[in-house]
């Protein structure tokens, strides 16, 4: 059974259709890329998958997350799904973190919730050890010092690692990453992509990776869906789609990406 099964999802704002008849299924451990440019509806789709649509946007169709219907579900049901079945990391980690809390406490919060849900209580020392362990897993140096820092004291890459640690704390089966490296420097981006790839593979997590950047998507996913103005125009294994795009739009995107790629020459 699919972890996430989106079936004929249509999202609209008033009379305007933003996503139209989108179907997409992700099985456990599967890594899928959702490719689209601005206005394609890719981020809205991710929000719809976790029932976090902004006000004024209505959803029709079906989104099954861990076998539960998300469309039209009350927050009470959704709260249990977010954080157990799925966790999300966003483009700008600075706005995703609370500026007034030390990052250690922010990572501890999902750990505590997770434990409470499983009927366990964590004492302070156990919690601190778990936070440290998580910070080590996302390869942050000096985890005890980082845990005491506030978000603004960290670099963009460090903040994104914290966001990933918070997502991991939920032990989700599906990780949704919405342009997680767009705000980062190239060298930091490479590190974060490698980290994400390793973590997802090691833990057998499913991944929904949303991006407009083709080479980045190619690095972390197996399958892609290409979204254009709310319509899925092409889908398939990533190598196949990038090697032989069938839709004109995908063709243009691949050609553009290859042009910049070719300019860099053959050096690897």
């Amino acid at each position: 059974m699919s972890l996430l099964a989106i079936d004929h999802l249509t999202l609209s704002a008033g009379a305007q259709t933003l996503v139209s008849g989108l179907s997409l299924a992700i099985a456990a451990g599967e890594r899928v890329g959702l490719i689209g440019e601005s206005g394609s509806g890719k981020s809205l789709t991710a929000m719809a998958a976790t029932g976090l649509l902004p006000p004024g946007i209505t959803a029709a169709g079906s989104v099954l997350l861990g076998g539960r219907q998300v469309v039209g579900a009350p927050d009470r049901v959704l709260d249990r799904l977010r954080g157990t079945v799925t966790a999300t990391i966003f483009q700008e980690p600075l706005t995703a973190l609370d500026p007034l809390l030390r990052v250690g406490r922010q990572v501890a919060e999902p750990l505590r919730r997770r434990a409470a849900r499983d009927g366990r209580t964590l004492d302070r020392h156990q919690l601190r050890r778990d936070v440290q362990a998580l910070l080590e897993q996302v390869a942050l140096p000096h985890p005890e010092r980082i845990a005491r820092a506030y978000p603004h004291e960290l670099s963009g890459g460090q903040r994104q690692r914290i966001a990933i640690a918070m997502a991991l704390a939920c032990q989700p089966q599906l990780l949704i990453a919405d342009e997680p490296t767009t705000a980062l420097d190239v060298t930091t981006q490479a590190e974060i992509l490698k980290l994400l790839d390793t973590l997802v593979r090691e833990r057998g997590m499913a991944l929904l990776f949303i991006s407009h950047d083709l080479p980045i998507v190619a690095q972390v996913v197996q399958r892609v869906v290409v979204l254009r103005r709310g319509v899925a125009v092409e889908r398939g294994p990533v190598e196949e789609v990038f090697a032989r795009p069938r839709h004109e739009y995908t063709g243009a995107l691949v050609a553009a990406a290859r042009a910049f790629d070719a300019a860099l020459g053959g050096s690897r």
């Binding site: 190239v186 992509l193 190619a218 990038f242 990406a257 910049f260 860099l264 020459g265």
Partner: protein
């Protein structure tokens, strides 16, 4: 001959930290230079110095053999005419309350340049492939790519010698980015271009020469093809290896 020569420039925001350190660089007339660096490399600071928005703490910048002096009004008037810029964010670089005509004609009006301004604006818009009927419209009626075309038209309208572009395509979608890079290539054929970017792929596609900045210093500079094919400095190598590549 050098159009711009940067000679031993230091810049410090705070007392204890240099943003740029003893930076020297020659930019030939007609050259097409990519300034590549990550956050904190000092590339934005260098651009601000070149735009005359700040003064070096030490060293000097010469333009056509004369010292760039932001407080010298007469010099700056000439300088502004010859040096124009395109910025990163096409959504904040155009005044939302002005029409395209008002935006693109601003350098002509502000520098009190002679001639029929409207005709010059129309020519500049034609050069960036925008129709004449956009003149009376407002920025919010355009897409990101079109806005960047308007910004390029504004930079071109006074026929400058040097165009400074600050991450001018980074905020654009991939398919739009290709077209704006093509446009900049066309534009750069007639003038000197300094293209500041963190994106090696775009710089490789657009610039003949590349300058790699790290922590306020130039770590490597040279012809783009050669530098990327055979990088000498470890940082350049790391940067190059970090660029995500398309599957073969």
């Amino acid at each position: 001959m050098s159009l711009v020569s940067i000679e031993g420039v230091d810049f410090r925001y705070t007392r204890d930290r240099l943003t740029l350190e003893n930076l020297s660089l020659e930019i030939r007339e007609g050259a097409n230079v990519g300034l590549v660096g990550e956050s904190g490399s000092g590339k934005t600071t260098l651009l601000r110095l070149l735009l005359g928005l700040a003064r070096p703490s030490a060293g000097r910048i010469n333009f056509e053999g004369r010292r760039l002096e932001p407080h010298d009004g007469a010099f700056m008037r000439q300088y502004r005419r010859k040096v124009q810029a395109v910025f990163q964010d096409p959504y904040s670089s155009l005044d939302p309350r002005q029409t395209v005509l008002g935006i693109v004609s601003e350098p002509l009006r502000s520098l009190r340049l002679p001639g029929d301004h409207r005709a010059q604006v129309e020519a500049a818009l034609a050069a960036v492939d925008l129709e004449r009927d956009v003149l009376g419209r407002y920025p919010h009626q355009f897409s990101g790519g079109q806005r960047q075309r308007i910004a390029i038209a504004r930079a071109m309208v006074a026929k400058p010698k040097l165009l400074l572009a600050d991450e001018a395509v980074s905020a654009l979608d991939l398919s739009t980015r290709v077209r704006i890079v093509e446009l900049l290539q066309r534009v750069a054929a007639h003038m000197t271009l300094v293209f500041v970017s963190h994106d090696l792929g775009v710089v490789a596609a657009l610039c003949d020469e590349v300058v790699i900045l790290q922590n306020g210093r130039i770590v490597e500079a040279g012809p783009t093809r050669q530098t990327l094919a055979d990088p000498v400095h470890p940082y350049t190598r790391n940067l190059l290896q970090s660029v995500p590549r398309m599957p073969a």
